[in-house]
Structure formats: C-alpha cells, structure tokens
Symmetry: C2
Subunit: 323 residues, 2 copies
C-alpha cells in the first residue's frame, strides 16, 4: 500500500516551514514523572506561532503553492486554530486568506482569527451550510481550499512537531498525541515511523466523541458524533487521506473521560505553569485512566501539547469541586 | 560603606544552591517586543522549584547553616512562597521547618505550604501577633529564623536569578524586578552590579503600596501601607539589610497601577502561554505606563518573572470588562 504523504514529505515540510514557525521546546516535569511513573517529554506546541501546532500544517500548505495558485489566495472553514494558522501563513506569503466561519462562532474565537487579518465569510452553523459557502468562495475567487486535517500538505506539516521531538529525545518508547480530525495524528505517525520506528504511537480521544477510536477499531470512518466535549477542537472526524496512515502506523487509540481531561489540564497549569488548551490535556489524562494508567510506568513517553488557546474568562474547572 | 552581603556572596550562593534549584529558562516574545519596542528577556522563575524565586534564597539560607544550627531546624513567618520555599529547603536537608501563619491565611495558600510538610503554627492576623508567636517558636526550639527578605543569605540566594540572566544574556541595558520586601531587588542589584555593571537596575512596585518607592526617594524606610494590591506578595516593606544595597545599586524605582498589573498579567498569559502571578506582571506593566513607557524603546531589557503561584479558581480579570 502506498501511503500519501510519505515520511519524506514530513522532512520536506520541515525544511519548508523552518523560517516561519518556532522550534518549540521539549519540557519535563519531575512532579508529573513522579505522579505517573514515566519519563515524560512534552513537546510544547502551545508556544508555537498562533498558539498551536496548526501553524505548521498551514505554513506547509501555503508555501507549497505555486506562484499561480498562491495569487488566488487560500480558503478554509474553521472557527479555531486552523483558521488563525491559515490566515497567519497567508499573511507571511502576502496572499489573500478567506475563512468561512459559522454565525454562531464564539466572539472570542472570531476575534482571535480576525487578529490575523483574513477575510471572514459567515455561514449558517450547519456543516452543510459551511461546505456550500466554502464552495461558493472557492468558485468565485479561485482560492485553494486548505482542509484542517485531511490534506497531505497539512498532515506533513503537522508531522514536523513529532519529528523535532524524536530528533531531540531519542529512544522514546511511546509518543502520544490527541486525535480529532486526524491531521496531527497522521503526521505524527509518519514522522515517528520514519525517524524512530521502534517508538509506539498512541492516540487519545475524548470518550464523548470517540469516532476515531471506533473507526480505528472497525476499519471504517465513522461520522462525528454530535456530543459536546471540553476539548472542542477534537469534535471532528477522520478523513480518507489521514485514515490509511493512521491505520498503518498508529499502535492504539484510547479514550479518556471529560473529568479526566479537566483534571489533567489543571494539573499541567498548576505544576508546569504553562497554559495548555483542553485538547492538549487529552493525552496527559490517559496516563491516569484505564486502559493506559500504569501501563506506561518506567517508559519514556513523548506527548504533544497541541496548543494553548483558551478563553481566560471561562476555565473548565470553575464552579466545579475538585475530585 | 560596606555592603553586606557583597557580590561574592551571590557567587557562593549560586554554587551552594545549584543542586537544589532549577536553572530556569530565559524566554522571549516577538509579540511583546513589538508591543513595547524593546528586546525583552524574561527570566522565568515561575518555573522555579516551589513555583517562585523564593526557593533560591531559602536554599541558600538552609544550606548555609552549620550542622549544629541545622539540627534545631528553621522557622519563618509567611503565608506565601517563602514559607513553601523554606519548607522545601528544610526537607532537602532533612531538618525541621516551622511556619508561623496567620489564622486568616487563605486555605489555598495554607494548603500549598502544607504540601511541603512543615509544622504550621497559627497566630493572630496582626503582624505583632505573628512576631510574638515566631519568637516563642524560636525560643522553644532553637530554630534559626529565616526572614523572607531582610536576611543576607536570602538576599544572596535571590540574586542568583539575575546572575544567571546577565550571564546568559550579555549587554542588557536594563534589568527590571518587582520590589516588595526588597530581598529579590537587593540580590538582583548586587548580581547585576558585580557581573554587568553597565546595566541599570529598575525596580517596580504597585502604586497602591508604594512604600519602597517613597523609601528610596526619601532615603528612609517607610512602614508598609495597609492598602490592598492584586500583587499581594509585594505588600511588605524594606529592611535594614537590603535597603543600603538598594540605595547603592538600584537606579530607579517606579510604580504601576492595579489595572496595569492585571492587564500585563493577562497579556503574558495570552501571548506567552505561561502562568505568572500578579507580582511577576508588575515590571511588565511598567513598560506600558508612565514614567517608563517608551523610555525603554530600542533597549535590551531583562525582566525577572518572580513566580507562578496563582489561585486558578479566581483570576484577577474575572468579572471585569477589559480596558
């Protein structure tokens, strides 16, 4: 089976985006090591441009365009980090960016994207409204659509985070990443398989939106559930480009509870003094819950902290009593 | 005039505490550089042991004790980072620590100190009650009192943060630190004067509790005001050990507004994705307010981010509208 993109695409992406993204640090925490029994290495993509790993994929896609393609700009649908990342990358290249955003997007998210200067087009909140609006925009402008997760250029770009991690920390037993749309996970899997083939890739998903878990188990892509999760960036589903990569190179997908995600997020804030968004806490939570809790004891575990964009007015533990 | 401690004490402190504290990173932020017009270098003591620079002074004090002194333990009064730091250092040396804490200390602060395992003795909330209780404890146990800020060993220890900063980032035009009790500031001043004498040290204080500002201006130590400030760690006053050092080596003390502190704290959280406590935001705020705003444009400015211990249930910007 031919996997597209291949590991070599991750290497090329790393070269291509180097001038435009941060080489983020790898952090450690003796407290979290003690609590989990692991040696943990956190790839801190919360310190990435636009506050999330999404800058990598967006930059790789935007800087992969030919001059002719680029002239017509880029378009995407997203109300979150990917929209900001596409706008950021387009700004660097000096080309137009159009973001289709549902009319019920939270003002704080909309404002974050607006800061990067794209043209924002509002659609109805139903996914089909969004798709239709995007098609119109593309037909009208000739812009190139950059899908948040099911695009080979995006996948290769996201893979550069794990590539840096396994280059910097050799002999990892496990690399963990959250899974939502599958772009980060597929890129991670490609990078690890190519650069550190002895390392197992384990993906973690909120059990409330466990479509990737079930898709992986059953070998077919399930549509997204309509459920809510605190890790709202993971409420998306796998695609036909990233799913074959995930099936080939990912060892396991596990799920975590909502309460576990919130506890893990708070733990990282309190003990590591860094701001991570709920999606980043998803793999951390897995170290404390079945089926993974204890199984990683004594292992060297890399974890991608995917981003740090949080509404600082409303933190998920507020109004709750701690477990 | 002989300054006690001298720069050499900071160097000795650095050797003494090296096994026990983190060499914290120096962070940069292109966003904050753009906003301020400076080249900023943040010494991230929020990543220090116990979450604050206080670990440095406490470790230097505890590991300076003779075996005979150490056997009787150490004592302090504090409901904050210094208490945790003394307990942490005592735990490392395996000696008793006693913390006198007012009966109205917030439960979250008390819990944070308890985590390091000292004996906690409760006193009335008036400073005189606290002093009397501490004297009783010392008389009864023979423990060595470690003052939070007016102790030569503590001052020398705190100075190691700035020492690392100026070693790592040469040619700084300015180093900024918050001032409360004066321990960090005096240590910073000694380290910078000794290692980087061309660098100006500028201290920043909340204007609501501007006793250090007035003391520096008038050449005499004023007692603390009773006012509130969001940077509650700075509600203390200078002492006879640190004041001569501050007068000799600090170029300037400026004050900042409460609103400015909150805005600066939020700015660092949002843009740098790190958790800092309000006291850490005090020097950052000064870059945006008179009399300093604009004056540092084009300069290389080091800033000590003093700590990251925050009650995550109650953030100071909540319930406010943003300016």
């Amino acid at each position: 089976m031919t996997i597209v993109p291949a590991y070599e695409e991750v290497l090329r992406a790393a070269e291509r985006i180097r001038p435009h993204v941060n080489r983020t640090p790898v952090l450690t925490s003796r407290t979290l090591n003690r609590m989990t029994g692991c040696s943990l290495f956190f790839k801190a993509e919360n310190f990435q441009k636009v506050g999330a790993f999404k800058a990598r994929g967006a930059c790789n896609a935007v800087f992969s365009l030919t001059e002719d393609e680029a002239r017509h700009g880029v378009a995407t649908h997203s109300s979150g980090n990917h929209a900001a990342a596409v706008a950021y990358a387009a700004g660097l290249r000096g080309i137009p960016a159009i973001v289709v955003m549902p009319d019920d997007a939270p003002p704080v998210k909309r404002a974050a994207v607006e800061g990067y200067g794209p043209r924002i087009v509002t659609s109805g909140s139903h996914p089909l409204d969004r798709e239709r609006m995007l098609e119109e925009v593309v037909a009208e402008t000739g812009a190139t659509f950059i899908h948040p997760s099911n695009d080979p250029r995006v996948i290769a770009g996201q893979g550069t985070a794990a590539l840096e991690l396994v280059e910097e920390v050799p002999d990892l037993d496990v690399v963990m990443a959250p899974v939502g749309g599958g772009g980060l996970l597929a890129g991670t899997a490609l990078a690890v398989a190519g650069r550190s083939p002895g390392t197992r890739v384990i993906a973690v998903e909120p059990e409330a939106v466990d479509d990737a878990y079930r898709s992986f188990r059953d070998g077919r892509i399930y549509p997204p559930t309509n459920a809510e999760t605190v890790a709202d960036g993971l409420r998306t589903f796998l695609g036909d480009v990233n799913f074959p990569i995930i099936r080939e190179y990912v060892a396991e997908i596990v799920t975590v509870s909502e309460g576990g995600i919130v506890e893990a997020m708070r733990l990282v804030w309190e003990r590591m003094k860094i701001i991570i968004e709920p999606s980043s806490a998803v793999p951390v939570a897995a170290l404390f819950e079945e089926p993974l809790a204890g199984r990683c004891r004594g292992l060297r575990v890399g974890i991608t902290l995917s981003g740090g964009n949080v509404d600082l007015e409303r933190l998920p533990w507020m109004g709750q009593t701690r477990s």
